[in-house]
Amino acid sequence: MEDILNQYKTVNLNEVKVWFKAGKTSDFPSDGGGCIKYKNKQIAIIKFDRRNEWYACQNLCPHKMEMVLSRGMIGSAGDIPKIACPLHKNTFSLIDGSNLNGENPKIAIYPVKIVDDEVFVGFLE
């Protein structure tokens, strides 16, 4: 199980080597998320229309190691945008990946950019 978790590491914008085309902006529901596949990774893409922002994070919830985060509800805690796991409502910051209501490990966060209605996610390789 550790192996699955270990393949997800936060990527900072200045480290991006590969911009992967994840789909069209219309592929994702307004103020909701969807999951994309990149190589053997599953990444949740969040279209946060209320904030006019896009976010990406691992689809794997680190609590019970299930591929479900993209199906969770998004929202805010104070100023922090967050996503709630649909299984046990653990919430994670979409800025730094930290678990906001518990002591689960951080989730990995990936940069997103939008070019002409197309969604790109940044990876190291």
């Binding site: 699955i4 994840a22 789909g23 592929d27 994702f28 529901p29 307004s30 103020d31 909701g32 998320g33 969807g34 999951c35 994309i36 596949k37 599953q42 893409i45 946060f48 209320r50 904030r51 019970k64 190691m65 299930e66 591929m67 479900v68 199906r71 969770g72 509800m73 998004i74 929202g75 805010s76 805690a77 104070g78 945008p81 967050k82 709630a84 649909p86 299984l87 409502k89 919430t91 002591e103």
Partner: protein, 835 residues
């Protein structure tokens, strides 16, 4: 640095560290802890939960890096073998030597094993550590494979009954063997013990009292226990849990004063006969007593910590042994002197064999002072009684009101928690007073309940004081003029009922409108489902609208299960299903390799469906006449029924037809929480209707209508609302009752809790529904009829609309399936790979 060495890493040793590092001046001290067990300190009080599935980590009192973060050195699996008091050093079994300035012995106790012939046989265990539990589990598994079913527990005290629960959870039939003539002889009198015994025996746990064991029978392994008078109890395993023996070896080898029957003698500073060596917890003999409860142990830890920091806190002269706990599902409590009997004392006893409740209070003859008491079966009054006892508060005019409740008139006899003196200890595990709780609110170091819990640690032990702490926080806030409201979450300063009215009056139709007008922030997983539910209740929007704002299960119209797959539950109204439809369900299950199980609501659940397959599965179901069962929604689930007078020779009326009519009327009705119904054809009540939010039972001359029952965490029987009424009246009352509940209840509040909190209670609800006291009955009728008339099956909507089907794919950029989903076999079916 001043060196403090703590020997023993149990609950009390851990508590010493926790208390010590929270105190000022501790920076000059360095703590080193030695524990002989291989793991960090864990919660021994809840040890039996290990059998019920909790892991060693779940029971752990701290996180893995807690010691490091707090600069404490923890050495596990290392046993201290000797103390050199002159040189102030200790010696470990790894041949290492450490020096100390202060030594704290928190070595606890081991299980007391009575000197019975044959206790060394295979299959005889003690019940004390996680290692003991692992050994018990392994042995139980082995003997079960050989067909063994019976296991004994020696000891009918608190620990013995805990062990019996553990044996029960392992799937063996427990036999509790006790030497005394009653269970829990230190806490309960005969009447209380009898009541507890009958409750426990209902679970097929056998109780053998007055039994003195002569020897353990068997060649190598145990096969039975021989009692006096040549009576043999055949068992294949024995767990001894008959008391504790202080682990005072270190005191003995180093020449500290120890008691005749063990225990290191301490004074009220928790100092042993060597002033640099302290003893706390179950190894300490204070006032000639060993205290086997957590609360005194924690207080000893605090006293020792204060003393080492050169302060003057001392241990109280008399230690309270009051206790409240749940044993094998039965609430048990005793406080003060539970047994006292003399000419100055009157015992007031209430006993109800039907509901399994026994209550006793001991009051002085002048009815002025409460001296102690016992509660079995219902200990909800414990906190209040304990406070009255420990603070010597005045009693009501008729002291029996304390356990019977005041009859006539609605007010509580207990008064408010605010009447307690500031010195009253509210949380006895953590020794937190009312003053400490209220002060932290008044001086604004805490602003709400969770702040208070963080600051004072109140409620973090056994948790029994939770309601009282919550009350105190709320009442203190009120007294400061701060408005206390049950707001939905940080995004809305309104209750659910207020949001309902706001949405309705302003005709808001989506989340952003509400959030933008009366809320703040971006919403969250709490307020979004609340608003979605309100839109459904007002406009009958199905869960195919506001999709990303629907709760986990509503979003995909299915129940998410452990591995992220879903379960599918079509509606089977009233539990009636034809052979053809059963075959369809079987065919679907076969085609998609689904695990099938009959639900508690008389329908069939198909588990393990992948997200991508849900529309195809429902296409088949809907083509064959099924519709959504709303098993995923906070909405009407099922109306369970017995077969009624169409077949049953006892039936008074046609309960199945009535159940089907009710389910068809209220299906799809979104509500603050799930709603379940039941209809029974006679008072034998095979449909268990009184365990439902609404239950109807056929009687001579009509139907009896019951409301606000539920199973779940706190089971409640539904209460009688109307007698001998006809079907039409049932529908009318139910329409109004359900609609009023939907309008006014808080989020995730079931009907029983809602009724409890409703001012005026059942009488008031009857006035609203039957007599139309508020003049809203017409509106409630109209609203419900509107919802019934506009019902639509949400799965049919999906099947008919390709746009709505788009969300049922795991990946948005690939047709591939989620390849991380794994199943393992179970019996002839499958289940998710366990967590």
């Amino acid at each position: 640095m001043i060196k403090v060495i703590v020997v023993g890493n149990g609950m009390v040793g851990y508590k010493f560290c926790e208390k010590f590092i929270a105190k000022s001046g501790q920076e000059e001290y360095q703590i080193t802890v030695f524990g002989e067990e291989p793991r960090r300190a864990y919660d021994r009080v809840h040890l039996s939960e290990y059998f019920a599935g909790k892991s060693a980590d779940d029971l752990s009192l701290s996180t893995s890096n807690w010691y490091e973060e707090n600069n404490i050195t923890l050495n596990t699996s290392e046993l201290i073998t000797d103390i050199n008091r002159e040189q102030k050093t200790i010696h470990t079994h790894l041949e290492k030597t450490h020096t100390y300035d202060y030594l704290v012995l928190a070595t606890g106790s081991s299980a007391f094993v009575p000197p019975i012939e044959g206790v060394d046989k295979e299959g005889v265990f003690v019940y004390r550590t996680i290692e003991d539990l692992d050994a018990i589990m392994a042995y139980a598994k082995k003997i079960k494979q050989n067909g063994a079913t019976e296991a004994a527990v020696l000891g009918g005290g608190l620990l013995g009954l805990e062990a019996a629960k553990a044996v029960y959870d392992l799937g063996l039939n427990p036999h509790v063997v006790e030497f005394a003539p009653r269970l829990m002889p230190r806490q309960l009198d005969k009447g209380a013990s009898d009541m507890l015994q009958s409750k426990i025996e209902e679970l097929n746990i056998s109780i053998h009292l007055n039994k003195s064991t002569q020897y353990i029978a068997g060649e190598d392994a145990i096969t039975g226990m021989m009692f006096e008078e040549n009576e043999l109890l055949k068992v294949d395993m024995l767990v001894i849990s008959a008391g504790i023996k202080p682990r005072d070896e270190l005191g003995r080898v180093s020449g500290l004063e120890v008691g005749v029957r063990g225990g290191i003698v301490v004074n009220n500073k928790m100092q042993s006969s060597d002033p640099y060596i302290y003893a706390i917890g179950e190894v300490a003999l204070y006032n000639h007593m060993i205290y086997g409860l957590v609360a005194p142990g924690y207080e000893m830890a605090d006293v020792a910590a204060e003393q080492i920091l050169q302060r003057d806190k001392t241990m109280r002269e008399t230690i309270d042994m009051s206790t409240q706990l749940k044993l094998i599902g039965v609430e048990v409590a005793s406080f003060g002197d539970p047994f006292i009997e003399n000419e100055d004392v009157t015992a007031i006893v209430y006993e109800n064999k039907l509901s399994g409740i026994y209550k006793r209070i001991n009051v002085t003859k002048d009815s002025k002072t409460l001296l102690g008491g016992i509660l079995v079966g219902d200990s909800s009054d414990y906190n209040a009684l304990f406070q009255i006892y420990s603070n010597a508060m005045p009693l009501p005019k008729n002291p029996e009101d304390l356990i019977l409740g005041s009859r006539g008139g609605g007010s509580s006899t207990m008064g408010s928690a605010m009447d307690l003196p500031d010195s009253a200890v509210i949380c006895s595990c953590e020794n937190v007073t009312k003053g400490a709780i209220c002060c932290s609110i008044i001086d604004e170091t805490s602003s709400n309940l969770s702040d208070v819990v963080k600051l004072t640690k109140a409620t973090t032990g056994c948790g029994g004081c939770k309601p009282m702490v919550a009350d105190l926080v709320k009442e203190t806030q009120k007294s400061l003029g701060k408005e206390v409201k049950d707001v939905v979450c940080e995004h809305f300063a309104y209750s659910r009922q207020e949001l309902y009215d706001i949405v309705k009056i302003n005709k808001f139709t989506n989340h952003n409108e509400v959030l933008g007008t009366v809320g703040k922030g971006d919403g969250c997983e709490i307020c979004k489902p609340v608003l979605s539910s309100i839109f459904s209740s007002i406009y009958n929007d199905t869960a195919n609208k506001h999709i990303p704002e629907q709760d986990s299960n509503d979003r995909f119209l299915a129940n998410i299960q452990r591995n992220g797959t879903y379960s599918v539950v079509p509606r089977v109204t009233g539990g009636e299903i034809s052979a053809d439809k059963l075959i369809i369900l079987g065919e679907v299950a076969k085609k998609y390799n689904l695990y099938t199980k009959i639900t508690g609501g008389q329908r069939i659940d198909l588990f393990g469906a992948e997200l991508n397959d849900l529309p195809a599965i429902w296409k088949i179901l809907i083509d064959n006449g099924f519709e959504s069962g709303h098993a995923y929604g906070k909405s009407l689930r099922t109306v369970k029924s017995c077969v009624g007078n169409t077949w049953c020779r006892y039936g008074m009326d046609d309960s199945t037809t009535f159940a089907i009519e009710l389910e068809n009327r209220y299906k799809g009705l979104r509500s603050p929480h799930k709603i379940k119904g039941g209809v029974s054809g006679c008072i034998r009540e095979c449909a268990e209707a009184r365990g439902k939010d609404f239950g109807i039972i056929a009687v001579d001359g009509g139907w009896n209508l019951y409301i606000c029952g539920n199973g779940g965490v706190n089971p409640k029987h539904a209460v009688l609302f109307a007698e001998q009424v006809d079907k039409e009246t049932c529908f009318k009352y139910l329409d109004r009752f359900l609609m009023y509940y939907i309008r006014t209840a808080g989020p995730l509040v079931r009907t029983s809790t809602w009724l409890e909190k409703l001012e005026g209670g059942l009488d008031y609800l009857k006035q609203v529904v039957i007599e139309d006291r508020l003049g809203i009955a017409g509106a409630l009728d109209k609203e419900m009829q509107g919802l019934v008339d506009t019902y639509a099956c949400e799965w049919t909507q999906v099947i008919e609309n390709p746009e709505l089907q788009k969300r049922f794919t795991h990946f948005t950029n690939s047709e591939e399936r989620d390849d991380t989903i794994e199943f393992v076999p179970i019996r002839d079916q499958k289940m998710p790979r366990p967590w």
